[in-house]
Symmetry: C2
Subunit: 128 residues, 2 copies
């Protein structure tokens, strides 16, 4: 059977969406580490990462995995997290070991629909 | 020969770094489209995308492709763009057709080293 790094990543996000935290945790290695380079934060251990996600203050969040690309032990995901206030996006790069996610690097941003900066306005158009 | 979507994506960024714009352009399809969901911008056509990149005002930028994951016609990249002022990051998801990149979705953010928000401070530590 071909090893598929996409599976635990997809399941992790889907089980977060279902708020089934124990099942989500089984997709993470005990010693899972997740890095958030934007803020310089590192979550060490499955339990810390799950506790943080359970405590997330965003109101009424819902998750859709939009893109998932996997090769060997690596996977990359574009995940849309819609809340009552915003459309957030997680860009995640993961390592999978023995069917569980052992390492993650996650970047968070949002759809802000800001105006186009003037320096590039002549080459761009608005998305529909 | 196995088709490798990683190659034109890696080369595009490396040729941007080398400021060899014409060679970089050969990695893009004529009708290449790139979407920037954060600002709702869309660059239509290779020429617009190249012109915008050539005009980018960031001072003294340098590019390193940190991660690149490809499968079939898709590739995802984590690209570090260091300037005199900041460490920017591009998270890009690409489609490749006939050896050229036909579509991109790029998110841009930066390493800000912000303080940890209080709601999650008990589960995280600082990256070294």
């Amino acid at each position: 059977m071909t090893y598929d790094a996409a599976t635990p990543v997809r399941e992790l996000w889907e089980l977060f969406e279902a708020r089934t935290w124990e099942a989500a945790g089984r997709r993470l290695a005990d010693d899972f580490v997740c890095e958030w380079p934007q803020t310089g934060e590192r979550f060490c251990g499955r339990d810390n990462f799950l506790a943080m996600n359970q405590a997330h203050p965003a109101p009424n969040w819902h998750i859709v995995v939009r893109r998932l690309i996997a090769s060997g032990t690596q996977a990359a995901a574009e995940v849309i997290v819609t809340t009552d206030e915003a459309v957030d996006v997680c860009l995640g790069f993961y390592e999978v070991r023995d069917g569980q996610i052992s390492h993650g690097v996650e970047y968070w941003t949002e759809h802000a629909n800001q105006p186009t900066p003037s320096w590039r306005a002549e080459w761009t158009e608005r998305m529909v």
